[in-house]
Symmetry: D2
Subunit: 345 residues, 4 copies
């Protein structure tokens, strides 16, 4: 079976580690180059960094060398914000395909990038290029299939957009007052040495952070507008809970529909045939553990008829469907492979 050569830049982060975990079992992929950052001192066997892969992966993890990245067919960029916008253009010019897991290519408006990421964009012309697709696989499948660079959505963006888009498309909820109370595991913050992420700080704790100030908010509002034509407003309250992986977003919006009407719309939009990675529950709500380790997004729905409010519960694994898994789903779409290839383990 033909395979492609795949490189990972940022292989030592949580998303990089999850890419490795998943790609080891992808039938069409040969891992060719695992790069950490440019500062990485010398090649280290991957098994020394991640003992889990001992005996299964013989590649070293090496310093990031753009020229070596360009020797692969496809590159996953799993780097902190600000790196991909410098690396990706060169890879594209060299004819490579790129899936970028950072925020660098998600926003169409460069000034919005500057506002939220506090730096000018280094490659603004690419932001509106037809070669670049926003990789929300369930909504941009055709664009992703044709894209040379896929901007993989943020974890909150994936969870919230998959949660509310069908209702917005169908005009079932008021886009003016969306409240999102979202709970994330700690890997969402990355493998970074930060006091606030220590076990001793977060065990038996829960913390709201970046309330109405999270950098995933603008991409969520941008995509709602692009996909539904509506200018939504959102009260966005991200929280971390004492879990490593998993994200459960509660989305509240006013509606005049019934639970059954809403559910019918979701079941149609997310049929198993059309969107194999999204499951709509017949009743009840997904728990975090229902999806951890999978590339699935589970959705539960309930209308409170007295308040005329809809609750959408959207659950996924921030590292899989919210990052590495969706990145692979997008790669599958780019190469014309079945969407879930390598993602059902």
């Amino acid at each position: 079976m033909p395979t492609i050569r795949v490189a990972i830049a940022g292989a030592t982060g949580y998303a990089g580690e999850e890419l490795i975990r998943l790609l080891l079992h992808h039938p069409h992929v040969q891992l060719s180059y695992l790069a950490a950052s440019a500062k990485w001192e010398r090649p280290v066997p991957a098994a020394d960094v991640f003992p889990r892969v001992a005996g299964r992966l013989s590649l070293p993890i090496e310093a990031l060398d753009p020229a070596r990245l360009a020797q692969s067919d496809l590159v996953f960029l799993a780097l902190p914000h600000g790196s991909a916008m410098n690396l990706a253009p060169k890879l594209l010019e060299a004819g490579r395909r790129v899936v970028d897991l950072s925020g660098d290519f998600r926003l169409k408006d460069p000034s919005l990038y500057t506002t939220w990421y506090e730096a000018p964009h280094a490659a603004p012309s690419w932001l509106s290029s037809a070669d670049v697709a926003y990789g929300l696989s369930e909504f941009y499948g055709p664009q992703v299939a044709k894209a040379r660079l896929v901007a993989n959505p943020g974890c909150y963006a994936t969870s919230i957009l998959l949660g509310c888009l069908p209702a917005l498309e169908a005009g079932l909820i008021n886009e003016g007052t969306i409240i999102v109370d979202a709970k994330s595991g700690l890997t969402g913050a990355g493998r970074k040495a930060d006091d606030a992420l220590l076990f001793s700080e977060m065990s038996e704790n829960l913390r709201a952070y970046k309330v109405n100030a999270h950098q995933h908010a603008p991409e969520i509002l941008q995509e709602i507008q692009r996909l539904t034509g509506r200018r939504a407003r959102m009260f966005f309250v991200p929280q971390v809970v004492p879990a490593r992986r998993g994200m459960v977003s509660m989305i509240y919006a006013s509606t005049s529909a019934t639970t059954e009407q809403v559910a019918a719309v979701y079941r149609q939009r997310y049929s198993p045939e059309r969107t194999p990675c999204v499951r709509v529950r017949a009743s009840g709500f997904p728990q975090m553990k229902d999806v951890v380790g999978t590339n699935l997004c589970d959705i539960g729905l309930l209308v409170d008829p007295a308040l005329r409010q809809l609750l959408i519960v959207s659950a996924l694994d921030n590292l899989t469907k919210g990052a590495a898994g969706q990145a692979i789903q997008n790669m599958n779409l780019m190469y014309g492979w079945p969407e879930t290839t390598g993602l059902t383990g």
Copy 2:
């Protein structure tokens, strides 16, 4: 210093254990009788049940005997719903004082009790007695001081009522569409052998449960109406998170006020002198760990001016301010002792 004799019924549950922990250091209390349930087989040293108290408490834990309860000055009833309504009347007739931590005396309307607790009330005449007070200490202090029986509020009720009452009293929010997204530690469910509460089910998990069906909802709405005259509506989404103790409620409601206006109202209502067990944060939001193990309720406030929505974050320890601590605070009020006696450790 004069002390009172205090009995605990339900000493082996989480609230009972917390009562023991706190009362061991209360200067005016002598623990006189620790009762489990009527089925408890034989007296067992408390230190055998709770090794933490070895060397500090020599009382046994014994079978529940109503006659022996009546030999104490005050009885804390920390039993499952349905027991207190049978025990309390006899204790009151014997001239004893009672703080009941169950739901048996919280609802004024017996038919509401039947609806939510699925059993007729055994002592309906007491529900509206002037001798019975709803023990939300910060709002019913004078009534508690005169009461012979205090119905200690549920943990969610304490968290949510303390969170939203000042805004409702001041007419700052629309009582018609209150959304409560509340996260609780697992001890809130009690020390009961239930698969869903196992470590192996809840580690790295988050689960919504009893959505719009939690038995604390009617007491919340009843008290909003009694205290503010408003008939509120609430979308109530209780959740359990992987923590033992602690509860963080996010309360959303529409408002036309600013953060500063709301905060001014809360700071006035909850001044340290008037309500030493409630703290209003000058900025930011409380984390769960800020209050665990204390009898404090911490409150953070933010208005999203574009959406005209107020977020109230209310954090407390479900076992302390949400149960045993508030029960002791109420006992202090009943005896005229300073409200925080024995609660500042």
Copy 3:
């Protein structure tokens, strides 16, 4: 590709759930019947019990019916102790193959069974049958390949035997004073409603239990004697730690060898070709997370030359290599498939 029909008895327990997780991806297996216990009331879609498998598994979970079990080619018995010894003989007589995950067929001496499991054995003649093999895959491969019933080892037994057998075989340690300080995740205790297993009891806790009284001890000593001819003595201190899955056993024994000598023996005994599910670390010690979710047992070794003591650290996932994974490994051996078929995901 030819497949076999496989039934699981005890499908609702943790080992049963793990069998389902793994067998869904086994290329030669078709799940044919998922049985809970005999008391199970009515068929329930597996996705209602385990929402993770929604969309991936359409079988119901049903009441246990021995006659239906006998319609499959192979039956995994993942039931509490005492059930398999009644069920297995009938299945064997019907020509079926059985992998039993309970303790019922592990001990060769029926009186030992009575001592440790507090009941007479119902099928003692099978205990010494050549058709029954002790399923420690790495040591009884040929016997398993010929067996009709495989007694799958206990999780502690797997961890400890894999850890110490090579040293005992090579005469490198004194079998008279083996100390085992073993730490297990909570799923090892099964999905049973037991206060001591609650999240609220075990978060931030660690507890020793059944010290020198754990029912896996006799099978460990039996197998050491069968495999090495040595009558070992073991101080066995099992502990639970706040984790769902995973087991790390520290095994201490006196030795006159060096770390290098011991490691050479282990690397030879556990070469990747010969035992693909055991990995010997070149240096350092395995962490619990290195193996969770895998069918691997990782081993680290260190001799303290001053004390002449060897430390063997043996880490595995109690549900995978310690239960369901090894059970599948044994099934693979029974059918002549590569040992790791379906186990590398």
Copy 4:
């Protein structure tokens, strides 16, 4: 009631935070100065750093200024290793008393300090001064009472020494082959931004580290020799488990005594009157949760007569009895106050 002025250097670390928690309730202490490190930029209200103390502590946390430290009667030094040896001499010359929670004054032999802490000692003459006591309160009470500087023992040292000293004093165990399998919560590693301490690394994990290479080993062996005259050997296997606070050490040693003989010795050595902070269990073993948040060390004992091995389980809270609590216990001894003053909350 007369009080002393107390300063804390290192107030932002976990031990410093625990000192604050405990000293707020100490009847003879007035907190006078809370210092972080010298690099701390500007005074910050303690409640901004630790929201738990809001409303209870009005002191700021400030940059470390040695001259200001010297204005207090007693200084707790809760700084990383290497700081106290420079600060303490000046404080002592100024007539102040010091309790040092670091390793700087624990080892009598300066060359041993250099070996283990990889730096020469800056004040070697103090190491053997009669004014300096090793603050294992239960064994050096008279020396602590007379000391001007107390070197507070390490958490592992406290746990292990309290665990094994009575048996060694009584000649009940062989000091030549002591095995210590010790499990610690993560706060033991300090509040430092280190990848390996992240929630995402340690939830559901267990890791051995610094095996036979932990810096608490030399103080343990030194004190065994000083207190019993025996040159012990110890295989020391420290481990971190997914908990914030708490330490459970399993100590194994060969013995010819019975459980009852050993227990009698421990009950005599650790009678409640003589050592109120150590509890010997009548049977069974302490769990981690039995002591978390207390200044108690709980001990369980069992001899395996067939192996002639003694197991000592020693449990304490690494931040309390293993650090801040014992430091306060030592302060109490230095001032002639009852040993448990302020420590029974």
